[in-house]
């Protein structure tokens, strides 16, 4: 069943002013529970705005968006940002607990479990300022999984890290996801990353419309060195190049 349903969603910044600019236009799609969906597109196509609207941080201008939860209660959301966004004045564990709704033993145990999965059990009492960028981002990922979200949003979580750290974290993310089977919406500009991680890729084009909706049907765990993965990555990249070329021609702009 669908966890997230979006119908004819549009977003315009500075509505009613001369500087008005439409960043999302007539977006419709739904996300089924337990799937990993990537939203891919060149910078400025409205990917992050879409994620912010889904999370409720930003408001949409028109259209409908609805979230459902399996439990019937309010839908819980987890969010992994580009930057770690940890409270610098709280320890790692307290940062994890900050986003939890209760202080029960079970919750504490869950936080510890996810902290262990990202390999930071020893650093639970550190301040974020004492950790490296990659470690901070791992805390961010653990924090998002630990709220047991109905929907987990990720906004280019690896784009600020160096290539080797990012690769390690992608592998870790695949493992955690395989164990927890959360519903994930993952925003990235990196097609290679998207193919490696997702079940489905939604390609946005400049101007904020959906260009293509691609299903990735590859066995997991996926390795970047796997030739079938590499072939598919090349193919999707090729399609994106076509889209960019189309966007540059005048009739596509109009």
């Amino acid at each position: 069943m669908a966890v997230l349903t979006i119908k004819n969603l549009a977003k315009t910044f500075n509505v009613g002013t001369p500087r008005a600019s439409r960043v999302l236009d007539d977006i419709s799609f739904d996300v089924r529970g337990g799937t990993f969906v990537s939203i891919v597109g060149p910078s400025g196509c409205g990917k992050s705005t879409l994620l912010n609207i889904i999370s409720g941080v930003e408001e949409h201008t028109s259209g409908d968006i609805s979230l459902t939860s399996d439990s019937g209660g309010p839908a819980r959301m987890g969010y992994v940002f580009q930057d770690p966004r940890l409270l610098p004045w709280r320890s790692v564990m307290k940062n994890m607990m900050y986003v939890q709704n209760d202080r029960s033993e079970a919750t504490v145990g869950r936080c510890r479990k996810y902290l262990e999965m990202v390999g930071l059990t020893k650093n639970a009492d550190f301040f974020p300022g004492q950790l490296s960028g990659g470690m901070q981002q791992r805390v961010g990922i653990a924090r998002a999984f630990a709220v047991e979200p109905d929907l987990l949003l990720m906004d280019e979580p690896f784009s600020h890290l160096d290539a080797i750290t990012a690769r390690g974290l992608r592998a870790q993310l695949q493992d955690i996801w395989a164990q927890s089977k959360k519903t994930v919406v993952f925003v990235t500009h990196d097609v290679v990353e998207a193919v490696e991680l997702s079940d489905r890729i939604i390609v946005l084009q400049p101007g904020g419309r959906i260009f293509e909706d691609i299903t990735i049907d590859l066995p997991r765990p996926r390795r970047q060195t796997d030739p079938t993965v590499a072939t598919l990555q090349a193919e999707v990249l090729g399609r994106l190049e076509t889209m960019k070329a189309m966007a540059r021609t005048p009739e596509a702009v109009a």
């Binding site: 509505v15 409720g56 949409h60 201008t61 609805s66 459902t68």
Partner: protein, 275 residues
Amino acid sequence: MSTTMTPVKARRSTSEKEKATPAWQKTLTSDRAARVAALLSFFLFWVVISALFARVPGPVEVVQRLVDEFSRGEVFGNFGSTLYRFGVGVALATVVGIAVGVIMGLSQLGRAFFESPVLVALSIPAIIWSFLTVMWFGFGDLSPIITTFLTSVPFVIVNVAQGVRGVSRDLRDMSTTYKVPLSRRIKDLVLPAVTGYVAAGIRFAIIIGWNGVLLAEWFGGGGGVGYRARWWYDANRFGGFAAWVVLFVGFIVLLDRFVLDRVIQRAFRWRDASA
């Protein structure tokens, strides 16, 4: 799977919300309305306080005294002599403060030497300086000038030193690797980085200096704003005192807003441009 479909987050879009806010509400919450409201509440507060306490002069009395002072011709002479003393004092403080501040900012040795005297000077209250200078120099122009200078100079020094030291080490290293000549380094690197701090220091000096000049005039006898304010205070006519407060506070506010603020904004515009 028999889970119930509950649309938990059916949210209103901005276009729906926009329609719900009436126009009168937007007018009442504007910045201009807020300023007017602030002014009205201050005035109301003053009227209520003066009605409750007999010793506190009300707005009408203050305006009356102000007119009196003008018609007696007490305003311009006193104001002029205060301005002269204040101006000379602050100018001296600026020159000396910049010189010492630059030394403290550029050289660690200079900083070691001047640090303690500046700290001591910062902590000596203006009232002590005004007591001392009145005894040393009598009731003339000199004691308010020296008091203004002595109270404000440490603040200029601290600000300038901070500004000079804040000139980025990276940029200095960059200039060294490109072998930028010293004259151009001072003109393009040090001066623009420091101007804002100098202006901020002068502004602080002006606020502190006013206190100094008024105190020295209050305890001295050589005329001026402080002297005149004290005259009314001693006569137990607090309306006259308040009239003088309104006069010079108005002057400081105008000076601050239309001269200093603009200078500082101009000097710092490279810094605020990104914000």
